[in-house]
């Protein structure tokens, strides 16, 4: 029996483009990134983004168990995306569901192109993405933090992977959809790019967009991702310090 009932807001976006949390279409929610917060992990990062709280850790390169999974010419990359039971309004049963299995794969495929896997033959690099609190956009938040945790672990990388979601609400293309927009918006499109070549390593879409909307969304995604990338670089410059930005004024079109 649910203690909390959700209701669709009457207006998801005003004629002037004001969103349910007061943001304009191009505005991103506040973000904090902290690198190196765990002692036992080889690398770690914590990201707070809007109401999301995501802890990531990296272990490796290390020996593979069971051994027959090891690849002779490169590192095996394993990723687990996991939601805590207390990360959602209704308690989530522990253990992987189908969505988690898919997101683990999607995040792995977003991150893997960045890693010099051929540098670590026969070993495994484990990337854990723990969602402690979810508030729309956990997978892209997780990609940003995982990328930081890899750098924190000293894994050789072609560059950082930065990520952000965009979406469509009625005729507005918006960046960084919030919970309402994620639930009741018309389209959602998480994206990630391997900087600096700006190759797309994560792209999913759920909801229809015309040709023009689609192109506009891709373009807005690129802009947001560049902003996230700047934050990531800053966070890495001063490990163990909190990098925080209220980014309402950022990412302007």
């Amino acid at each position: 029996m649910p203690l909390y009932v959700e209701k669709k807001p009457d207006v998801l976006i005003t004629e002037d483009g004001v969103r349910t949390d007061g943001r304009l279409p191009h505005e991103i929610r506040p973000i904090r990134m902290t690198v190196g917060i765990l002692d036992k992990a080889d690398g770690s990062a914590f990201i707070e983004w809007g109401g999301n709280r995501i802890l990531t850790a990296v272990f490796g390169p290390r020996e593979v168990h069971p051994k027959h999974l090891a690849l002779p010419d490169k590192a095996l990359i394993r990723t687990r995306y996991n939601m805590a039971p207390f990360s959602t309004p209704e308690r989530k049963r522990p253990g992987p569901d189908r969505r988690s299995v898919e997101l683990s794969k999607v995040i792995r495929e977003a991150i893997k192109p960045a890693i010099f896997v051929e540098n670590y033959p026969g070993s495994v690099i484990d990337i854990f993405v723990e969602v402690l609190r979810s508030d729309a956009g956990t997978r892209v938040a997780g990609v940003n933090a995982a990328s930081l945790a890899l750098a924190n672990a000293g894994i050789a990388m072609r560059g950082l992977v930065a990520a952000c979601a965009v979406g469509r609400v009625e005729n507005f293309i918006i960046c960084d959809p919030n919970h309402d927009e994620d639930m009741w918006g018309d389209a959602d499109m998480p994206m990630a790019m391997l900087m600096e070549s700006e190759k797309i390593t994560l792209l999913q879409t759920d909801g229809p967009m015309t040709d023009e909307q689609f192109k506009e969304a891709l373009e807005m995604g690129r802009r947001c991702i560049r902003f996230l990338y700047e934050m990531q670089k800053e966070a890495l410059k001063r490990p163990y310090l909190i990098v925080e930005r209220s980014v309402f004024e950022q990412g302007e079109v």
Partner: protein, 269 residues
């Protein structure tokens, strides 16, 4: 030329396919944006309320839609239920093992399911018998029988046909709470036709509808669904990476291909 993948090591196969692509050719002589022939088998193969066994080249899939009735989810009292499941049967490939759906099977099921939902192709609210109390539940079971690449598109096409063919006994919820199952049939109304189109990137070129060997050597792969208004309604980038331009190109090709596949589906329903 017939091609035996076991004759060549993976590396040789990759070089061979890449050379072909560099010369604007494919293993099976198709154009880069040409799909394999689609065949819909005649016959009754399941006890489902709707079914389709199709061949996409040598890839064979069988989709069945079973119907049941039950309560709606508490947060969507005005919608019926669609449950999608993919089984990579061990008969379909020496690399498939018996057991619960693995990561790949789950992703494929969700990619097909997401295309159907994002276009609301079956009109989930039309599955309601009595709001908040009784709805139709459709179980979309996707069986892969023979795996020669591009399961996503084959399963999407077979799923749309199976859903479009689905007929269920009409059910009424009487005032005293009793459920009456009528002789009369109720038919799923296929309101949209969201079709997935899968591309792989080889040697920097996009190839539509890859066969297994092409999938195995591809640098990157992506699946895009197009709805009846020719909008992109669902995307799943899988392994590798793409430029923004490549993705816009892929969406364009998919849009152009939609009418012929949609027409074929309509014909066989």
């Amino acid at each position: 030329m017939m091609f035996n993948s076991e004759m060549l090591t993976h590396k040789l196969l990759r070089e061979y396919i890449e050379d072909l692509v560099a010369n604007d050719q494919r293993i099976d002589s198709r154009g880069f944006d040409e799909m394999r022939p689609i065949e819909v088998l005649n016959g009754t193969f399941t006890k489902a309320e709707g079914e389709a066994w199709i061949k996409l080249g040598k890839t064979q899939v069988l989709v069945g839609v079973k119907a049941d009735i039950g309560e709606p989810f508490p947060d969507t009292p005005d919608k019926g239920v669609l449950v999608s499941n993919t089984e990579l049967l061990p008969v379909a490939s020496p690399t498939f093992e018996p057991g619960p759906p693995n990561e790949n099977a789950i992703e494929i099921a969700r990619v097909v399911d997401r295309a159907i939902r994002s276009a609301d192709a079956i009109g989930l609210s039309s599955l309601v018998i009595e709001e908040g109390k009784l709805v139709y539940m459709l179980f979309l079971d996707m069986y892969v029988l023979d795996h020669d690449g591009n399961l996503e598109d084959a399963l999407t096409i077979a799923s749309l046909i199976a859903l479009g063919r689905t007929e269920v006994p009409k059910v009424i919820l009487k005032e005293d709470g009793e459920i009456e199952v009528k002789e009369e049939k109720w038919k799923v109304d296929l309101r949209d036709m969201p079709i997935n189109f899968t591309f792989v990137k080889i040697n920097g070129k996009l190839l539509l509808d890859p066969i297994l060997e092409e999938e195995n050597v591809a640098e990157a792969s992506i699946t895009l669904a197009i709805d009846k208004d020719r909008r992109v309604c669902s995307i799943q980038k899988k392994h590798g990476h793409f430029t923004m331009e490549e993705i816009i190109n892929a969406a364009g090709i998919a849009r152009d291909k939609w009418p012929e596949v949609a027409e074929m589906i309509k014909e066989v329903i």
